[in-house]
């Protein structure tokens, strides 16, 4: 009744081509942004912000990255964690070389290194497809993970073998390092995610996004439309890895505050992000957020939520249940709704549009 496009006429193509053509959607986005920028910092406690919101934002960005590759371009990758690692280690080296440059700039630049490595490992995608490509990305995963551990230059020859995050400030406020508060780290994450999501949305709605989807849906026809397959696939790898790289840098610098590749950037992480994309919805940016929210909150909810409800569950048992639930959910989603939570959201919106009438 309230969510309806009746009476909203578009008088030019620009209005019709907007990402959110409906006024109600635009209001909705504004409300969500207001909650994210004002509501959560005001109302959320440190635990919520540091252990729920920041992981959610980092995973969302990584999931958007993988969705560009897998959902939009149709190339399966099992190496997302490794590309995130490239971002994290590049950022660490950049902070060492350019201590004076703002850390946010460095985080954004470190994505470029990840993009370059992504292109390198994307090169075989011209000749191989499907499962074969999945194996090729496993090569990236294991090789890069090995490199992060075996090349001491990457972690500045630290005895711990891990990235040690230095303190960096923005306008005098510490945003990385031990003394940065969860709120400031949250704001930085949020800002980066909002801006990068906006870029991603623009790209997938434009010429490049259409080329990717064309390659995904029917590569032969795409080539006969004049789309160069190698270009389309490599740009997808580049943009995807860029997002993964930035997410990885954010993960270490703004969330973990340090860490080692073998603990963080493992094949398990690659899978987790792939599952976020599947459950959230292949080929949907908003789905990436849904998937990230769902899978990043699930372990926390089981670990802390069930005991709070009076169900006794140990940490290990919670982890096992998480695995089983995630596995089962993947199967359920593939059977019931291969387009994931994003499609459920759309169906909901469609229902709302005609409510209270059935159609």
């Amino acid at each position: 009744m309230f969510y309806r496009e009746a009476g909203q006429y578009k008088t030019n193509y620009a209005a019709d081509m907007a990402v959110f053509p409906l006024r109600q959607d635009r209001i909705g986005i504004a409300v969500i942004l207001a909650i994210a920028f004002i509501g959560i910092p005001l109302l959320g406690n440190d635990f919520f912000i540091a252990s729920v919101m920041i992981p959610f934002l980092v995973f969302s960005l990584a999931a958007i990255g993988l969705n560009i590759l897998t959902g939009y371009t149709g190339l399966i990758s099992l190496g997302t964690a490794a590309f995130m690692g490239v971002g994290a280690y590049s950022c660490y080296k950049l902070t060492t070389f350019f201590p004076g440059v703002n850390i946010i700039v460095l985080i954004l630049v470190s994505g470029l290194f990840s993009a370059a490595i992504g292109v390198l490992f994307g090169l075989p995608s011209l000749r191989i497809k499907g499962f074969y490509l999945a194996v090729a990305t496993l090569a990236a995963q294991f090789f890069l993970q090995w490199a992060f551990v075996r090349i001491p230059w990457l972690f500045n020859y630290n005895a711990s073998g891990a990235i040690e995050v230095p303190q960096r400030t923005l306008f005098g406020l510490p945003i990385t390092g031990a003394s940065a508060t969860p709120e400031t780290r949250y704001f930085v994450c949020l800002g980066l995610v909002v801006v990068l999501t906006w870029f991603a949305s623009n790209i997938v709605h434009g010429k490049l996004g259409r080329s990717w989807m064309a390659v995904r849906d029917m590569d032969i026809a795409a080539e006969l439309m004049g789309i160069k397959l190698l270009n389309a696939k490599l740009t997808a790898f580049a943009v995807s890895s860029y997002f993964a790289g930035v997410a990885g840098a954010m993960m270490i610098f703004l969330w973990y505050g340090g860490g080692e590749a073998n603990d963080v950037f493992t094949i398990r992480l690659s899978f987790t992000i792939l599952f976020m994309v599947i459950i959230g919805g292949l080929g949907s940016l908003i789905g990436s957020f849904f998937g990230a929210a769902f899978l990043s909150a699930l372990p926390t909810a089981l670990k802390f939520g069930l005991p709070a409800l009076g169900v006794p569950i140990g940490g290990a048992a919670a982890e096992h249940v998480t695995f089983m639930l995630v596995g089962a959910l993947i199967i359920i989603f593939l059977i019931v709704e291969p387009h994931g939570l994003a499609r459920l959201w759309q169906i909901g919106k469609q229902k709302l549009r005609t409510w209270p009438f059935p159609y």
């Binding site: 075989p124 249940v321 596995g327 993947i330 199967i331 593939l334």
Partner: protein, 357 residues
């Protein structure tokens, strides 16, 4: 021919074998020239020194190859499970590795509960059958005629479910395989050859023999039984098989159960060499490069691919690994497969795919 330069002998280079052969030849030639020019530097260390080492200590080389052969047999066994399922249902079963762990854990777990060893084997087979039926009912049946990639991702779901399920029941700690109770041989045979001692574990020899037997039985089964023929029909086309009255559900149960048996045998062999734990999950991923080498539908391919990967990565680790810090075993297999893919995308024994539009 005057315009050779304009058309660089396309027919010759179109052949993948000749092309890769020429590249290998070129590399060898470059290496020899490089080593001559620079007898102590990097090129020497990469292209000459390892071969010198091999020539000087042939017993070590034989030992390394044997080690590679043995891990290759195990890779091949896992890959065999993949191939069986892929051939018969077109599903790329990512969960095969975890099925190996799950089967082994069930066996050991049952034994620990006090079940006699051989009864435990029978019961484990029962569990694998139940698993096959469940997967068919819950996962495959609702997904008939979905794109392959959807089924592929569904097996990720199976993998994760089995990891959680296995850990919840049996715990995450590594366990000892009940090798002795199953009368598997122990100890080693030391061969005094090649001017040194090459030590062969009896369990490895047993693994190789059992693996060959199993492969022979499977090949016969596929080739000469009615079910085998039906399996091949289903692999070609779900719809067409249905239309000639083959029961997909029955076939799938059979095939997944067969893969479960293969998984159990692999699990016993593997468990007898190291211990039974979820660490195997990562090792099992190495079956994927094996499949790339061998092709997804070829049983001999899985064997040959397994051996190439096994031996290749052991040799690489032992002779070249130290040059760049060691531990290259974790990724070498993937790179061998990747390099191979660029020359022969359809695998060693796979058929060339002609795209029709």
């Amino acid at each position: 021919m005057s315009d050779v330069a304009a058309q660089p002998t396309p027919n010759l280079l179109a052949n993948g074998w000749i092309k890769s052969g020429l590249i290998v030849l070129g590399l060898v030639a470059a290496a020899i020239v490089g080593a001559r020019i620079d007898p102590t530097g990097t090129i020497h260390a990469i292209f000459v020194d390892p071969f010198n080492q091999m020539a000087q200590a042939p017993d070590l080389l034989a030992q390394t190859i044997w080690e590679g052969l043995v891990s290759g047999v195990l890779y091949a066994l896992i890959a065999l499970g993949f191939v069986l399922i892929f051939k018969a249902s077109g599903v790329f079963n990512f969960a095969q590795g975890i099925m190996v762990v799950f089967a082994a854990l069930t066996l050991v777990g049952l034994y620990e509960k006090g079940v006699p060893a051989f009864l435990a084997v029978v019961l484990t087979l029962g569990v694998m059958f139940a698993l096959a039926v469940t997967i068919e009912r819950v996962v495959l049946r609702p997904l008939v005629n979905q794109p392959d990639i959807i089924l592929f991702m569904a097996t990720f779901g199976i993998t994760y479910f089995l990891i959680g399920f296995g850990e919840a029941i049996f715990g995450g700690n590594p366990k000892q395989m009940i090798a002795e109770q199953l009368y598997l041989p122990k100890g080693a045979i030391d061969l005094k050859i090649l001017g040194g001692i090459v030590s062969l574990q009896k369990i490895d020899i047993a693994a190789a023999i059992i693996a060959s037997l199993m492969i022979a039985v499977l090949a016969l089964f596929f080739q000469y039984t009615r079910i085998g023929r039906a399996l091949r029909a289903v692999a070609d086309s779900h719809k067409a098989a249905l239309s000639v009255g083959i029961s997909l559900n029955q076939i799938w149960v059979i095939v997944w159960f067969t893969a479960g048996i293969v998984a159990l045998i692999t699990g016993i062999m593997w468990g007898a060499r190291s211990d039974v734990s979820f660490a195997l999950e990562i090792v099992a991923l190495k079956a994927l490069p094996v499949l790339i080498l061998g092709g997804f539908t070829s049983i001999p391919g899985a064997i040959v691919g397994g051996l190439i990967i096994g031996i290749g990565e052991k040799l690489g680790e032992f002779y070249w690994g130290p040059l760049i810090g060691g531990g290259i075993e974790s990724w070498l297999a993937y790179f061998i497969a990747l390099g191979f893919l660029l020359f022969r995308p359809q695998g060693l024994f796979g058929d060339k795919i002609i795209e029709r539009i």
